[in-house]
């Protein structure tokens, strides 16, 4: 593992179906993630994806690469922009890339993740610490 190594990327079509599924699995039933009427009433352009779902998808880039997700010892993100999910079969396309940013003496490395929707980043300072 070397600084600058790029991980295989991941492109995900986030659909309404997935938002409902994730709401049930994560027990986060905030209506901004499934109810268009509610979302627009509170000023959003439409239903938006759970930030925690986008975070989880970004984590997959790293755990797919590691093989054993137990080697991911730390993972944090900032939620900077919403992923707006239209009511159609294509949903919202989110593209994830990641690269090794730092290899440390203590047997860990830092991986920086980028998540893009509509050409803009939706996660800030998305970083994972992994056991090498």
């Amino acid at each position: 593992m070397n600084v600058g190594d790029e991980l295989p990327g991941l492109t995900v079509q986030v659909t309404r179906d997935q938002l409902v599924r994730y709401a049930g699995a994560s027990l986060d039933f905030n209506p901004i993630h499934w109810n268009e009427r509610f979302a627009t009433e509170v000023g959003l352009p439409n239903v938006i994806a759970h930030g925690m779902l986008t975070m989880a998808l970004g984590g997959r880039v790293v755990t797919d690469w590691l093989g054993d997700p137990g080697r991911m010892v730390e993972y944090g993100v900032r939620f900077t922009r919403p992923v707006v999910v239209p009511d159609d079969d294509a949903g919202a396309t989110v593209e994830f890339t990641a690269k090794v940013a730092e290899v440390r003496d203590d047997g860990t490395a830092r991986v920086d993740i980028t998540a893009k929707f509509d050409g803009k980043t939706v996660l800030g300072k998305a970083q994972a610490v992994v056991r090498v």
């Binding site: 699995a25 027990l27 925690m52 989880a56 997700p69 730390e74 993972y75 939620f79």
Partner: protein, 149 residues
Amino acid sequence: MPLDPSFIGRTYPPETTYEVGRAKIAEFARAIGDDNPLYRDVDAAKAAGHDDVIAPPTFLTVINIRAINEVVEDPELGLDYDRMVHGDQRFVHHRPVRAGDRLQITTHIDDIFVRAGNDFLSVRAEIATDDGELVCTTHAQLVVRGERS
């Protein structure tokens, strides 16, 4: 009205014990589209050195969100939920979460401050087994937008 900084240091003790189930881990993995065998196949998990299937790195959101909401809904704190957004989230895993874990979550308000007219609230949760083994520490920053923004 800004949040009262005297709430810094307040602790919310565990209300219940959450038992991590294999089916819940598999359901969560499916919801994030992740087919990693270590989330569903006990033999694969054991071959990788784990005692049982392990959970995805963000799985503990299933109890973390509820713990955050307990703080958010504390009537004494008086936070305006309609103006609140989840600013950031971090998980520090002391070991992987696995099926069979009996977990308790203790939530702490670490900081309250105002920046550019918005209230910031830093919430930390310590998640441990019911016999006291620390499994994960989570950090969340909640932002309450100011009245004029």
